[in-house]
Amino acid sequence: MNLIDLLMQPFSYDFMVRAMTATTIAAVVCALLSCWLVLIGWSLMGDAVSHAVLPGVVLAYLVGAPFALGALIFGLLAVLLIGVIRDTSRVKEDAAIGIVFTSLFALGIVLVSVVPSQVDLSHIVFGNVLGVSTFDLAQIAVLGGVAIAVLLVKRRDLTLFAFDPAHAHAIGISPRMLSATLLGVLALTAVVSLQIVGVVLVVALLIIPGATAHLLTDRIGRMLVIAPVIAASCSIAGVYVSFYLDIAPGGAVVLANAVVFTAVYLFSPRHGVIGRALTRRRIIEVVAG
């Protein structure tokens, strides 16, 4: 089998084409969002929302509604509850996040155990990208498209919010509204990614691409290009590897992201550990003549 055959073989299966497309869409949406999440320090919020959608999925199944709707409602509910606990008690935000997401995730697990259904917990927790149907793909494309459109239209406001929310307030732009926008898109993104990598690994896609891009550039505009490109490449590579090695595709996609992050962490010219050491050495050599 030559290289072309090797690359094309997965595309001879419809389920692989759907898996590749769905994973790439989800990865791009997550990567865009991850740029602001890592800059604001909201990585944990991504973890919280992605876990908190589980009871919504189960309840949606019970009433015959689309999974995405249930997940979206519970994602937003989680954000609301975290805000309420943080603002109305002396509990700090990280603790509020921990309380809300573990509680809602536990509620989801309990619901799965008592509700007689065909909902496979392992598919929700770890994803089932190879089981993506045409309807699922359409749903992912529409929700992903909405999320990308909102993020791109509001990108300058979101950057202002991440950099200096007090300035936003001072010039009449509501930081509360921008925060709500970002969290709403986060809930939407968790829904988009749920079926691809599952609730446990969604957080990886919501952190790693942004963190990787941040190590490669000092401009947010470039981050917003680098992060989706890395995430899309890792998605395609991950799904390929999973096809040939017969391993879990969700895990393979996240591992591909982790490998790229590690390489960048070590070798990024300006901000990599080894890159910085080499630069220092070159400076010392120049100074020493």
Partner: protein, 248 residues
């Protein structure tokens, strides 16, 4: 439209602010006029930052009213007529923005939904950077600037807003001599243009050259007067030794 020199731009009447159990501002009545530089002076915790917040309408008032250009502070903010320059201590040095990008944020209130800047906005940013002599560093990352340069960048952001009233929180704190002189010169120019500047400072010695009036604050208003009068020893004694226990 800049207010005529001497015209009242902000009026505080019996403004009282509580932060939990603590009285942050106690019955402040004050008029701020166009074309002047007012300096807020007082101990840490005297209510200087709270007074800024009250003028911007960002803190709930327990009592009293604030009007800016005859309307609410929120309306003045939405119209871009008030600019605020923070101390800048909270800036993330790793944030991936160039200096010019930060200054452009001063224009956001004037831009459309996507905040896409037009040629006039780039022009205003270039002019603001020019006034604080940061043109050469416009493309540098904000985190690579020194404390004084960063302060000037935040000042440029406030200038780019082209607001009528500029509220500056400790503009001279932690800056090098060159930055201090530059900022002082810009303040004088702004007042001459008919703009209004209110700044907070601990640098009392330089105020006679830099401010038209001193607002001496210790939760309540001690005095508002020319620096020579307001900074008299007996006034400073009242501001800096006043009983600061919470008054409920």
């Amino acid at each position: 439209m800049t207010a005529s020199s001497g015209e009242t731009v902000a009026r505080l009447n019996d403004v009282t602010v509580r932060r939990g159990e603590v009285l942050a501002l106690d019955s402040i009545s004050l008029e701020i006029r166009a074309g002047t530089v007012d300096a807020l002076v007082g101990m840490n915790g005297a209510g200087k930052s709270t007074l800024f917040a009250a003028i911007m309408g960002l803190v709930p008032l327990a009592r009293g009213t604030v009007t800016v250009f005859g309307g609410t502070p929120a309306r003045a903010r939405a119209a871009g007529r008030i600019a605020f320059m923070p101390q800048g201590d909270g800036i993330d040095p790793d944030f991936p923005l160039a200096v010019a990008d930060v200054v452009m944020m001063g224009r956001f209130g004037r831009l459309g939904i996507t905040r896409h800047p037009r040629a006039a906005d780039h022009g205003a940013v270039a002019e603001a950077l020019d006034r604080v002599q940061l043109n050469d560093l416009a493309k540098r990352s904000i985190g690579t600037l020194s404390g004084g340069q960063r302060k000037r960048a935040l000042m440029a952001r406030a200038l780019a807003q082209e607001a009528d009233v500029l509220l500056l929180d400790e503009p001279f704190a932690g800056v090098d001599q060159r930055s201090e002189q530059l900022i002082a010169r810009v303040l004088t120019q702004l007042a001459a243009e008919g703009r209004t500047v209110v700044l907070s400072t601990h640098d009392i010695a330089s105020l006679p050259d830099r401010a038209d009036r001193v607002i001496l604050l210790a939760q309540r208003l001690i005095t508002v007067d020319a620096p020579a009068v307001a900074l008299a020893p007996e006034m400073l004694a009242r501001a800096f030794t006043v009983n600061r226990e919470p008054q409920l």
